[in-house]
Symmetry: C2
Subunit: 272 residues, 2 copies
């Protein structure tokens, strides 16, 4: 494996771009291949077997591009498919759950940690299990927030309706007096300001994507496959549907121009 080989990142859609943004500031010289499965988004409301099937196809596509590592930049896929991917593929596969859990354990003082995510992530108790494995004296309070993804995609980041919805979703966590809240979906950092305002300024928010980018760096360093180039890395984007819309949203997210958004055929994804 060559150090200059790209890091492969996949998500059900655009949410994983918040992970690209984190990597962009910490590992700016790495080449990145991103795949967003926009023809089948969202994953968060789908069954475990479907999410595993889709995730394997996504990973195989990235492998066909000679990536040196795979980042599952989707909490739903991380919570359901990570073990299957690690069993099937030899290269390192980094998910969102463990890094987010570790960062939350380090941040909490009162040992009361809240987790918000999709229905699939929450019903699989992915974060509860990871947190309790690290420290069984932690109290975990999980809450599914299905409307946050469409609100983020709609760009209603400071709308009054978003505040009302956040108040409804977060009220129980607030009552439990959590001091740390894991944003357990890569879309949620887009709504960070509203979430912070509603849950209270004293609660520390953990962005699982940022936490994962620290783990990516450690993996690369540990295996001696960090890119040693002094040049800024290239980014290539692939989606399974509507590259034009993806480009707009990606440029807004990343705050930089995005070239080369390629649409791949779903049939191609199945054949790989």
């Amino acid at each position: 494996m060559n150090n200059s080989n790209p890091i492969g990142i996949f998500d059900s859609g655009i949410g994983g771009l918040t992970v690209v943004k984190s990597l962009d500031s910490s590992l700016a010289n790495e080449n990145i291949i991103y795949f967003g499965d926009t023809a089948r988004v969202p994953y968060g409301s789908k069954s475990n077997s479907t999410v595993i099937e889709y995730s394997k196809q996504d990973a195989k596509f990235l492998l066909s591009k000679n990536v040196k590592m795979i980042v599952v930049a989707c909490n739903t896929a991380s919570s359901i498919a990570l073990e299957s991917l690690r069993k099937e593929f030899e290269i390192p596969v980094v998910g969102m759950i463990d890094p987010g859990a570790k960062a939350a354990i380090m941040a909490t003082k009162n040992k009361k940690i809240g987790v918000i995510g999709t229905e699939a992530t929450v019903s699989n108790k992915a974060y509860s299990n990871a947190l309790l494995k690290l420290d069984d004296s932690i109290n975990v309070f999980e809450k599914a927030c299905p409307l946050f993804v469409p609100l983020a995609e709609e760009g209603w980041t400071d709308h009054k309706a978003t505040i009302l919805i956040a108040e409804e979703y977060l009220s129980e966590l607030k009552k439990e007096k959590i001091d740390t809240l894991i944003l357990g979906c890569t879309h949620y950092p887009i709504l960070r300001n509203v979430i912070q305002e509603v849950i209270g300024k004293n609660v520390q928010l953990i962005d699982s994507g940022s936490a994962a980018s620290v783990e990516v760096e450690a993996y690369l360093a540990g295996r001696g496959i960090k890119n040693t180039s002094n040049n800024i890395g290239t980014h290539q984007y692939y989606v399974s549907d509507v590259p034009k819309k993806f480009k707009q949203i990606a440029e807004r997210f990343l705050g930089r121009e995005v070239d080369h958004v390629n649409k791949i055929d779903l049939e191609e994804l199945k054949i790989i």
Copy 2:
């Protein structure tokens, strides 16, 4: 074709059940095969080529069950894929757009008609084209409401946030003083009360699914293939993901017990 053959209905997910409900009261003796493509829902944010590909697969699945007619119980698929389906298949294919447009033309007095739907339906100007073809003196005002589908799926039918979101989406249509509003997505009847309250009691709401069920009856009668049985028809439900959740929601929608929700494999759908 035997008169007792079932009517085939497909939708991207659960929204088409509002159409089943309409048929259930007007054509209670018809047998129904319903397919909800819950592994790939939603269609409304996807590209035309993807929606056409998925719709053809859905229709082929229904044909494999010997249906005598296909109802495209999804406005997005109707607006994009109807002509392709009619070209490819010989049996009658009924969509949502023309019936909804006809009902709106009959209802309006001031010739100002509003249309709400998914991004795909609105950007394709499906209803504008259908309405203006029927009467070119009509003024049409279309508005995409992407958050209505997840709000309906979340069951927030009278939440304050839903009212705020409806106020935002419907404010322009209200200013234009429309007297008729087409609910151009089969999910929207679930939010009917909020929509009626926000747009005003004097505006007539057109449920495209109800309008389509009138057309289904006319088609069957015109071709002499109405079921003449005196027994209540059977319903069979197929989905591409998570039959359990589908069953719960279907029973809430239809107000009756739903047996036989079968999960079919996506691969199977592609091979048909």
